[in-house]
């Protein structure tokens, strides 16, 4: 192709030149306009990507998504997007209405003056993802079922009148011959079917002994009012009933009735599957491989979800490095959701912080505290820490003061994976935390520690042959070695380490009070100090077989009883008194608060986490990128 004459005009005349130039210019303009838009997915004016699918990895499998049986954060983080309770925690952990229209208080008449009756109005629009409308009978059914199942969180409902009766009526099943709890759960379902949705259907009978007397529907089962009557005043109940993904969640009897045991493993449908009132439903679940959740069309709640789908790949923790690499390439939007905020290890976080991805790293304290428990109340297990004599308390104090807690957080966690627990055992950010540095047991004073040791164990005979027991894995091993080193250096005492490989065996032994010194910890359930003080020390804990240290004190128990009955504004000072009792008794050595780490792509908007849980999926949207 020849280049042609150097000028366009010439024999053809001058008229051509401008129009050819115009053609070129307008062509260029069109091309510029087409290319000048945002890259990637075509965008609407709000900057949203056209594909609203969020992908993230999960590093373990669900254990169970049945709200009556669940107890692990890694399960509830998913369930909170599929099931709703009557109320929920907002991002700041305040209780706000969900299926209920308001949070009952004494002021608005939701709570009676004696604190024993709660009246709840339901949102008339609340609907299950399969179209079934929510009415009062669904609340009654869900809570009665949860109590009858006697699962790990059934005690959340323990203050309701009739609780104990239902549990004993549900009893326990004959031994299963198929290895499945089908008989037990089937009998509960059969008993409840005729009381609620199955009322009037052929062959349905109602076993009223499975209904809590304190749970009634004043406007009828198909009405929208629920009345809850307590056996005794309870200041923590509202928080416990709000705990998402557990016994307060509202489930669909139509669905559970057909398959009481495995209903939650199947995709949601009219008569089967993981059906809740949440913004998302289960579209597919391949065990050990993947889960897919999809947004409910025309969801009744708010905010209306922008995401259309959430794809979760189940990965092995050993694949962390490659998963992070995949995240960097954009294959995943978030790492850390689904209860996995503890999975990013130190070298990964370090390398992220020194890379351009540093701004995508979210560090969030998590509501979990780790401490060391002494054997105080089990003489059979032995050890120099048993009892309340001056020597026992003094020795506990010696071992406590010999440990440098801030040093531990720096050496073991690099100040990235945990922070020193200096504000008491209730984690920072939760009600009941005393404030930084307010826990006298968090002090580090090796001189006084040595003095106390010399005073109460001059010959060293009492503290010879001590053992610190812990379950292996994660930070537990380096923490144990750090503690051993501290006691050796600062006290001159050699403490043996007893690493227990099997976590369930360790927990079982520890709860049975079999260890002289053991690693202890607690992850909070709901934002109320009762969650800690009732479950870990005192008579309640002992009765439940969960009192590691065996610490029990009548003053403690009576203050606890009193505090449990009061609303939080009155009960907080009382709970703080309990903290003081534990501190004066040197019942523990505080170690660290957990910290969660998340990697969130800049184009994932609305994702985040608070001390308790990940922000709901209905707040998340994908920006074009």
């Amino acid at each position: 192709m020849t280049l042609g004459t150097p000028h366009l005009g010439g024999a053809r005349g001058g008229l051509r030149r401008p129009s050819q130039a115009m053609l070129v210019i307008s062509l260029l303009a069109v091309v510029a306009a087409a290319c000048g838009g945002s890259s990637g997915a075509a965008s609407s004016s709000s900057g949203l990507a056209s594909s609203q699918v969020l992908k993230f990895p999960a590093f373990q499998n669900p254990g169970t998504w049945d709200p009556g049986e669940a107890d692990a954060e890694v399960d509830t983080e998913f369930m909170q997007n599929v099931f709703d309770n009557l109320w929920r925690f907002d991002n700041s952990l305040n209780i706000v209405p969900d299926i209920a229209t308001a949070v009952p208080t004494a002021a608005n008449g939701g709570i009676s003056s004696d604190g024993l009756t709660y009246t709840v109005n339901l949102n008339h629009n609340a609907t299950f993802s399969n179209g079934d409308k929510v009415t009062a009978e669904d609340v009654l059914y869900s809570w009665d079922r949860a109590v009858a199942l006697q699962g790990p969180y059934s005690s959340n409902l323990s203050a309701i009148a009739g609780y104990a009766a239902v549990q004993s009526a549900a009893g326990s099943p004959p031994a299963s011959t198929t290895g499945s709890p089908l008989n037990f759960q089937q009998s509960i379902e059969n008993g409840l079917w005729g009381c609620f949705r199955g009322k009037g259907t052929a062959g349905a009978t109602c076993d009223s002994s499975l209904e809590m007397s304190g749970l009634t529907a004043p406007d009828g089962l198909t009405g929208y009012t629920v009345q809850i009557t307590l056996a005794s005043a309870c200041g923590w109940c509202l928080a416990a009933w709000t705990l998402e993904g557990t016994t307060g969640a509202i489930v669909d009897e139509n669905v559970i009735h057909n398959d009481p045991v495995n209903w939650w493993t199947k995709p949601s449908s009219k008569t089967d599957g993981m059906v809740g009132t949440g913004a998302f439903y289960l579209a597919s679940f391949i065990p050990k491989q993947s889960m897919v959740f999809k947004a409910v069309k025309d969801w009744w709640g708010s905010p209306k979800p922008t995401l259309t789908e959430v794809d979760v790949d189940i990965k092995d923790p050993s694949a962390l490095a490659t998963t992070v690499a995949a995240w960097k390439q954009g294959s995943y939007g978030i790492i850390g959701y689904g209860g996995d905020s503890g999975n990013l290890d130190y070298p990964t976080i370090e390398s992220i912080k020194t890379s351009p991805y540093a701004k995508d790293l979210l560090t969030q304290p998590k509501g979990r505290t780790t401490w060391l428990s002494f054997n105080i109340g089990y003489p059979k297990t032995g050890g120099p820490f048993v009892g309340e004599s001056a020597a026992a308390v003094g020795l506990r104090k010696a071992f406590d003061l010999a440990v440098d807690k801030t040093g531990l957080a720096t050496t073991v966690c690099h100040d990235l994976l945990c922070t020193a627990a200096t504000g008491g055992l209730i984690t920072k950010g939760l009600i009941g935390n005393l404030g930084d540095g307010q826990d006298p047991l968090a002090a580090y004073d090796p001189t006084e520690a040595k003095q106390l040791l010399k005073e109460y164990d001059p010959t060293g005979a009492l503290t010879a042959n001590l053992t610190y027991s812990y379950n292996t894995g994660g930070l537990n091993d380096p923490v144990a070695e750090y503690l051993q080193n501290e006691w050796q250096t600062n006290l001159g005492v050699h403490v043996n380490l007893n690493p227990v490989g099997d976590a369930s065996q360790f927990i079982s032994n520890r709860l049975g009070g079999q260890y002289v010194m053991s690693r202890d910890g607690w992850q909070f359930d709901y934002n109320n100090p009762q969650d800690w003080y009732a479950n870990l020390w005192g008579t309640f804990a002992t009765a439940a077989g969960a009192n590691t240290s065996g610490f029990d004190d009548p003053t403690y128990d009576s203050i606890l009883n009193q505090a449990d009955a009061e609303p939080i504004s009155q009960s907080l000072p009382l709970y703080n008194q309990l903290a003081t009792i534990l501190q004066q008794d040197v019942a523990y050595i505080p170690l660290y608060y957990s910290v969660g780490n998340f990697l969130i792509q800049p184009w994932v908007k609305g994702a985040g986490s608070n001390t308790g849980f990940d922000y709901y999926w209905d707040q998340i949207s994908i920006l074009s990128h």
Binding site: D71, S172, A319, T323, S504
Partner: protein
């Protein structure tokens, strides 16, 4: 030493002369007995372990007792095994205790297919690589080629497979990645159930490398033996090209000892699968085996173990039958 004698009974008992079918039935009966014994022993052992799948900071005491009761775990072990066996005969391996209520059989079958993909690829690599190296080493005996390939073989059957895997990652993922800027590096991300060939080759190579060493040695040794035999010289005298002579005559005879150790090779590959799956996070039976033990997921452990035993039994039987095809002197 004939192949048949490596399976005891081949010489201590009078040879069965009524034919292959009877032999197969005998072997199948032994396999069934093996499965029974293995499943029973494993069942009892895992149930005897302290701890269980349910205990947590919230599940203990009464709640725990109830859960154990619901799943029938508080019954005597023998009764539990009997119930398990009744279901297993119909193909129902029970439910998982970790993913509550999820059926074990489809889960384990799916993972079996993943492991078969991995193991099958490793088998192809092992035989292909092993025999190729062996043949080359025999043809070029005492040259540098021979020494190099023999050394590779020795390294193969001595060094643990995870070392090979680590070396592979070092070279093909990290080194190659830093040199080519990530363009051609191997990426140890296993996507989906089955992975792609690009993800499969390094784990398969790491597994296959171990067993290929033995195959190389044996192929080389038996080829050397045969190359020196008279009938090869005769064939050469007839004017056939040397390469054709080598491959068609020597190889056929070299095949026999290779097949004789095929049984051990399959076992070696299964062990390699066990380890390599755990390294690369491949969702197969090997990873499931370790996980289920740690999670106290009894039925899954028993299921995995039994399937492994079945695989080995069937592959040993297949090898013995192939042997009859290859070496017509062997008859059952």
């Amino acid at each position: 030493m004939s192949r048949a004698s490596s399976f005891i009974g081949g010489e201590a008992v009078p040879k069965v002369t009524r034919g292959t079918l009877v032999y197969i039935i005998q072997r199948l009966a032994i396999i069934a007995l093996t499965l029974l014994v293995v499943s029973f022993v494993v069942f009892v052992v895992v149930h005897a372990l302290p701890g269980n799948a349910f205990i947590s900071q919230r599940v203990h005491g009464k709640t725990l007792q109830l859960l154990l009761h619901e799943y029938g775990l508080d019954q005597p072990v023998l009764i539990q095994y009997w119930n398990f066996l009744k279901g297993a005969i119909h193909g129902n391996l029970g439910v998982s205790l970790y993913i509550r209520g999820e059926a074990v059989t489809p889960l384990v079958l799916r993972e079996l297919s993943v492991s078969c993909e991995l193991g099958g690829s490793a088998l192809i690599i092992t035989i292909g690589m092993g025999m190729t190296f062996g043949v080359l080493a025999a043809i070029r005996q005492n040259t540098w080629v021979d020494y190099l390939l023999t050394s590779i073989a020795v390294i193969g059957y001595t060094v643990p497979s995870f070392v090979i895997a680590g070396l592979g990652v070092m070279i093909f993922a990290n080194f190659l990645g830093s040199v080519t800027g990530g363009a051609f590096a191997y990426s140890p991300v296993w996507t989906g159930t089955y992975g792609t060939i690009g993800e499969l080759w390094l784990p398969a190579l790491a597994i296959g490398f171990y067993t290929s060493g033995q195959i190389t040695r044996i192929t080389r040794a038996s080829m050397l033996e045969v190359i020196q035999q008279d009938y090869i010289r005769t064939a050469r005298a007839k004017g056939l090209r040397e390469r054709v002579v080598t491959i068609r005559h020597a190889l056929r005879n070299a095949l026999v000892p290779v097949i004789s150790i095929l049984g051990t090779t399959v076992v070696g590959i299964l062990v390699g699968v066990l380890v390599i799956e755990n390294i690369f996070g491949i969702p197969g039976l090997g990873k499931e085996f370790v996980e289920s033990i740690l999670q106290h997921d009894y039925n899954v452990t028993v299921g995995v173990f039994t399937i492994f035993a079945l695989l080995i039994g069937l592959s040993n039987l297949a090898v013995d039958l192939i042997y009859t095809v290859v070496d017509p002197r062997i008859r059952y």
